[in-house]
Every structure is written in structure tokens, then in C-alpha cells.
Amino acid sequence: MWTLVFRGLATGSIYSLTAMGIVLVLSTTNVMNFAQGDMGMFLAFIAFALLMRHVSYPIAIVAVVAVGLLLGALLERGLMAKVRKTTSHLGMLIVTLALTMILEGLAGYFFGTTPLLFPPALQGDPLHVFGAILDRQDLLSLAVAGVVVFILFLVLYRTKIGIASRSLAEDEYAAKLLGIPVRSIYIFIWATSFGLAGLAGVMVAPKLSLEPGFMIVIQLKAFIAAVLGGMNSVVGAVVGGLLLGVMENLVAYYVPQIKDSFSLILVVIVLLFLPEGLFGRRAARRA
């Protein structure tokens, strides 16, 4: 039982990392980013290439996050900012769909489509704690997600650029009037979200096999986690991801008949009975 919960949390931490990226972009720029997962896939391939050249694991992770931040900034300046001027939010959503194809195509072209074995960061026998069996890579995912959530919250709630990002999510017009440099904030948001994607990709790749389409399932699950958390709340994305991971794992064990369809059933139920999600913003306005 505890082993199941723990494994669920570990998988959930990947959902959380991905869902945070989706929610950050969605709540500030109003764009549903379907490429969040594939951004992680692309960076996981880069990490793989580095590891194969005997770059040490920690350096590969740092490098991938750095590349992610850079690619995110380039993506905003080079593509999203331009598209934003000429198309609607729906149009931008389609652009992110195109981005998934571009990324998957590039990954296939450079790295091939044969599934590759991505080495885990931590090897060795699982740990036994109070009867639960804890896989080392799972522990690492959870720890990484925990640290990232902590840092992200510090940034979003304690720094000017973070507070400004949240203000942009609430009222872009007011943010502009205050002179908040909206363009820089967009760059910050896309860079952060691309960086998050890289971490998610590298953490989950050893658990799956590395191929151009390997993050599609994660993208879908992260989307469900985001819906569960209310779509506009970063806290909701974190909790939604963990909750989904745990529930999914328990269901797969106790009710294996619905293990594949469970998350989809869940999203329908949430949308029907709790459309604001667990942490969705109810209108806080008064007067």
C-alpha cells in the first residue's frame, strides 16, 4: 500500500512539473501549450547526448535546464511574440500543436526513432522504509520536484518579476498601466516553463524509453492534473499532479480493469461536478 502511494507520488511529481509549466503559460499568456511535454522530450534527448559523451549527470541536468531557459526565451521572442500580434489565442494554441510536430520531427531527425534506454541518475537497490519499497530514481524525482516547487514559489511570491507575472495573469490591462514590462515577463514565463519541461523530461526518461513520442502521455496526464487543480493555479497544478499520480497507482492495483481509462473518467467527473478544480479561483471580487 505505502509502496503504491510512494510510486504514485513519484509519477505525480513528473505530472506536477509538467502541469506547472502548462499553468504558468496558460494563466499569464492565455495560451494552452500542447508542446510542454515535447519540450521536455527534446531536452531529454539533449541530456541523453551529453550523457553518452560522458558528461556527468548533475552537469547534464544543469546544462539541460539552462538550454531550456534559453530555448524558452528564444521561443517567446522568435515565435510567440510575433504570433501574438497577428492571431487569436486559439491560433496560438494551434501554433503549440505545430510546435509538437516540429520538436518530434527534429528529435527523430537528429536522434532517430528507435527507443533508447535512458540511464537513471541513481542506481542501486531500492530502499526499504517502514515496509515500503522506495526506488532511488523515484526519490530523486520527488526531491527535485520539491526543490523546484519551493524555488518557483519563492520567485512567484517574493520577487518583483514573480509578483508581476501573477498580476499579468489577473489583469493584463492594469499591469500595463502600471508600466510593468509585459514583454520581459512573457520571456520570463516561457523560459521558466521550458526549463521545467527539461527537468520533467530528464527525470521521467529513465522510467520510460526515450523516443520522440515518449512525453505525449505525460502531456495528457499533466493536462488532467492541471484541470484537477483548477487550470489557473500553480498550487493546484502541484497538488493535482501528485493526487493524480497516487490515485492512478491505487486504481491500477485495486481496480485494474479501468486503469487506462481512469484519468479520463476522472477529468470528466471533475469538469462535471467541480469545474473550477480544487484550487481554481473563485471570483474574489466584491463591490
Binding site: 509578483i163 501573477r166 490591462y173 508600466g179
Partner: protein, 241 residues
């Protein structure tokens, strides 16, 4: 200080402002009266850089600010407190105020924060609460306070009385007037509530369909029969409250 000359603004092919000239001096409160759709908000949005003028010049102490980005205009000291307040409801009162001083140095901001909280003590009590939980009057105070965090040389106020009880409006207007006189910033006040606007302002302009029909000292405007008929609800109505 703030000079607007022959300002034209269009939405696509439709011109909304047809050559407007307005000036606001240091410590001066200037009101712009007009009915819905007269172009009052368009005027403020153009000054703050949300809209671009098609013709005309906007300068602050001789520096051209018309057609600049909002962030540039704010840095020059022209701060727009919009209609409907537009506070950030899910951010704390403190975070709302911090964003008002986005460009300030840390020292400036803490000084301004102390000043704002002294001016609106109710905000100090609610510093950590979400701004959406404030009453309408408190939200307007927050919007004003947030504007003051930007070290304004000119404050653009759009319908600050909207949705507020008369007594709250009077309180807020009194504070605006006192601050403008004490701290030497100009105020360009756009109001539907013409009576109250004329009460606190030094001069006024009457905007009709995108053109200025009348201007003058507030006292004169208040006595003007046409202004009385159109904006003050008839003759000899008690001008107080």
C-alpha cells in the same frame, strides 16, 4: 507641466477625439466632464500610452510622451488609475502596492509605502489580505495608493467615484485634493459625478462627442446654465454632499 495639444485619436476609421488641447499644472486639479462616450476614457488611455494618437502632441515638462509605451510614460511620472479600479483581486494588498512601484528603487519604494499606509491607514490593517476582499471604497484607496507608489507628477483618475457611497467619495476626493496640494502633483480627473468633480478641481473642461465645448475655472463652470442643465441635474440643486 502636462500639455496636450490638438490631440486626435481614432479607433480604426472612426475618430474619437477631434483635436483636444488640455493642460495641467503642478498642484492643479483639472476635471474633464462629459457624458458616456464623450471620449473621456479615450483621452486618459492615450495619455498613458495604451492608445496611440493619430495627431497632436502630449508633453510633460516639454518632453514628448505621446505615443510612448505605457512603461515609458509611467517612468516619466504620469500614472493612470483606471476606471473600475483594476486592482489585482487575488494578490495581497501589499503585492498590489509593490507593483505600483515597479520601477522605483528599494529606498524610494519603502518611503512611498510608508507614505501610502499613513494616508490610507485601513490598507495597513489589510496588508496581507487578498485585495479582492476589500470593500469598494477600500479598493479605490488601494488603486490610488498603488498609483502613488509610482511617484506621480501627474495622476490620471478615471471615475474614482464609480460604485462608491457618496460619503466615501467625498472622503477620497478630499484626500486627493490634499495630497495634490501638499505634494505638488497635478491631477487630471475624469468624472460622471460633475458636481463632486467641480467641487475639488481648480479648472474644468467639458467634453462633448470628442471635442472640448467649454472650459474654465470650476466656479464658472458650476454657474454655467448649460453645464447645470446637462451635468448638474437642473438649476439650484444643493451643490453640497
Amino acid at each position: 507641466m502636462l500639455n496636450i495639444e490638438d490631440l486626435h485619436v481614432s479607433y480604426g476609421p472612426i475618430e474619437a477625439l477631434h483635436g483636444i488641447s488640455i493642460e495641467v499644472e503642478t498642484s492643479e486639479i483639472v476635471s474633464v466632464l462629459g457624458s458616456n462616450g464623450a471620449g473621456k476614457t479615450t483621452l486618459l488611455k492615450t495619455i498613458s500610452g495604451i492608445l496611440n494618437p493619430t495627431r497632436g502632441v502630449i508633453t510633460l515638462d516639454g518632453v514628448v510622451i505621446g505615443g510612448m509605451e505605457p512603461s515609458t510614460v509611467v517612468r516619466h511620472g504620469v500614472v493612470h488609475v483606471p476606471e473600475g479600479r483594476h486592482i489585482f483581486p487575488n494578490l495581497t494588498v501589499q503585492d498590489n502596492l509593490i507593483l505600483g512601484g515597479y520601477f522605483g528603487t528599494a529606498a524610494q519604494n519603502s518611503e512611498n509605502m510608508a507614505f501610502v499606509l499613513q494616508t490610507f491607514p485601513v490598507l495597513r490593517e489589510r496588508l496581507r489580505q487578498r485585495a479582492g476582499m476589500l470593500s469598494g471604497g477600500e479598493q479605490q484607496m488601494l488603486a490610488l495608493g498603488r498609483g502613488l507608489m509610482g511617484n506621480p507628477r501627474v495622476l490620471l483618475l478615471d471615475e474614482p467615484s464609480l460604485g462608491l457611497a457618496p460619503i466615501v467619495t467625498s472622503e477620497i476626493f478630499a484626500i486627493v485634493r490634499r495630497l495634490a496640494k501638499e505634494h505638488g502633483f497635478g491631477v487630471l480627473l475624469v468624472e460622471q459625478n460633475a458636481r463632486k468633480a467641480l467641487d475639488i478641481s481648480d479648472r474644468g473642461y467639458v467634453l462633448v462627442n470628442g471635442s472640448i465645448e467649454l472650459s474654465g475655472a470650476s466656479g464658472e463652470l458650476r454657474e454655467n446654465p448649460e453645464v447645470q442643465k446637462l451635468y448638474l441635474g437642473g438649476r439650484n440643486v444643493d451643490a453640497r454632499l
